[in-house]
């Protein structure tokens, strides 16, 4: 790859990072807190592309005037100095990010990994709204480790996507994220009560229901899965940030 092609790849890479970070696309892959870094690195990559083109032109002009001072060995003028072929691989993330833009992790990853529920540090008092909106992770933590003490007699509303176990048990899942989707882990809540008749994995649902003391064990890692007694399930659009980032502190 010569310098002009490198400049093109650097520019496209920077532009696709900027595109991902200025839209909500980046939230499918990394946590919210990385946004300034992604923006910054996109800008630096574009600057590197511009600088490469600029210095190339300067060199070419210098050569055109007949100044013969750029015959350094190994780093000849203009089109020489190739980077190793492995640089061509940088076209792949470009393509994946611009043209494919894969969706956030869904039910496939969720059913392959065990629930990653951890004991919360504290159980802050809940607002008195009705129905009460809670995160899937928050609900599961309160239900399992606090035995639902703060949830008694409340109507709660959870949003997550649907995943079906191998034997067809339906779960409401939210992937919890610490840094990027490579470390995303599912937190699952099993559904009981008035479950919708047709269950399509990966559809986003807003579930209204009440606390249920029933527990199940995750078939993958034996982790605890609480139940929720469903009274209403509504399909909704996927939220802006598909992951739960409450563990980032």
């Amino acid at each position: 790859m010569n310098r002009q092609a490198q400049a093109a790849v650097l520019f496209l890479l920077g532009a696709s990072l900027l595109h991902a970070a200025t839209t909500d696309l980046y939230l499918r892959y990394v946590k919210q807190g990385l946004r300034p870094l992604v923006l910054l690195s996109g800008a630096v990559l574009i600057a590197a592309a511009v600088a490469t083109v600029w210095y190339e032109r300067k060199r070419a002009r210098g050569r055109g005037r007949g100044r013969k001072h750029d015959d350094e060995p190994g780093d000849g003028p203009g089109h020489a100095h190739h980077e190793p072929r492995v640089s061509w691989l940088l076209v792949l993330p470009l393509f994946a990010l611009i043209l494919v833009a894969p969706p956030a992790l869904g039910s496939y990853s969720a059913t392959r990994a065990g629930t990653a529920l951890q004991e919360p540090l504290a159980y802050p008092a809940l607002p008195s709204a009705d129905p009460l909106r809670l995160g899937v992770v928050d609900y599961a933590g309160r239900a399992v480790y606090d035995h639902g003490r703060t949830l008694q007699g409340r109507r709660v509303q959870l949003t997550g996507f649907l995943a079906l176990d191998r034997d067809g048990t339906p779960y409401l899942v939210r992937m919890a994220l610490n840094c990027c989707a490579a470390d995303a882990q599912p937190v699952k809540v099993a559904l009981a009560g008035r479950i919708p008749p047709v269950l399509q994995p990966d559809t986003w649902l807003r579930i209204t229901g009440t606390y249920s003391p029933r527990r199940a064990k995750d078939p993958v890692n034996g982790g605890p899965i609480p139940f929720i007694e469903v009274t209403e399930a509504k399909p909704v659009a996927a939220p802006k940030d598909p992951y739960d980032e409450s563990w980032n502190g």
């Binding site: 590197a48 600088a51 043209l99 490579a182």
Partner: protein, 339 residues
Amino acid sequence: MAITKAAPRRPDDRRDPERSEEEGRHLNSPLLLTMLLLTLVLLQSPIRRALSAPVMQSWTTVFVAVMVQALPFLVLGVLLSAAIAVFVPPSFFARALPRRPALAVPVAGAAGAVLPGCECASVPVAGALVRRGVTPAAALAFLLSAPAINPIVLTATAVAFPGDPEMVLARLVASLLVACAMGWLWLRLGRTEWLRPQSRASHDGQSKGEAFWGSVRHDVMHAGGFLVVGAMAAATLKAVAPESWLSAAADNPVLSVLALAILAVVLSICSEADAFVAASLTQFSLTARLTFLVVGPMIDLKLFAMQAGTFGRAFALRFAPATFALAVVVSVLTGTVIL
């Protein structure tokens, strides 16, 4: 695997500077790039259909996620390494580090605490240090310690293990020990010919700005390519290997340490996030999880690919297994003492 195919063949690099030869023999690379991108655009709907299977979808998502997450840190490291290469004179390092290499190793290892980033940033910086005349042993100690002991990573560890504050201490101690031990091991056994002779064009006759941006461009293209290789490997294993294998290993103390050490290599998680993953592996002992935290920032698939790119394959093939073995042993020892 892919690394052998994709690795650069240096003789080629040296051969093609002849300008006239290139026009004839090689396809013009901007043209090739344009054609490649156009073909990909034309074929996008069949490719999308092929990628719509759940396995492929989660593969692509993890692949893109690793790239988007690692690129900012790579860029940070590349900027730092370019600044070192262009603006810091070699005499600075001669003064800053003790003259005796055996003493320079722990100093450089402890200096790793000031690079606030993850492992992607430390590879190009260590490469720049070697080029600037720092003894390789000290640069390697820095390479290994920087991603594990900087304040951001240690804070993340403390947050992820609220009930076990000694985990932070154990991670710091074990990582520093491994980094210094690898540095001293390199002093005893290392040979310079394993390191790739730095084929970097000299910056003579260039303005500082030109040298700086030239270094940024070179490092991003180079390390970035290897980062892609590593990200693909990590995505493949994440999408294909079932997690149930892990729970089988958790009951045996020896197996559990080895299993988490291998998992750390395979997952290639950023060192700023690995503490949270370790915290969630509750079925494993604290020592096994410490091994995960010590091995991960020092050697994993994407790091191996990037080290092979920066220092040469002969180096990476020797360095990586030695680091892995030493990191496992030291973590177990530290774990039994502290945890």
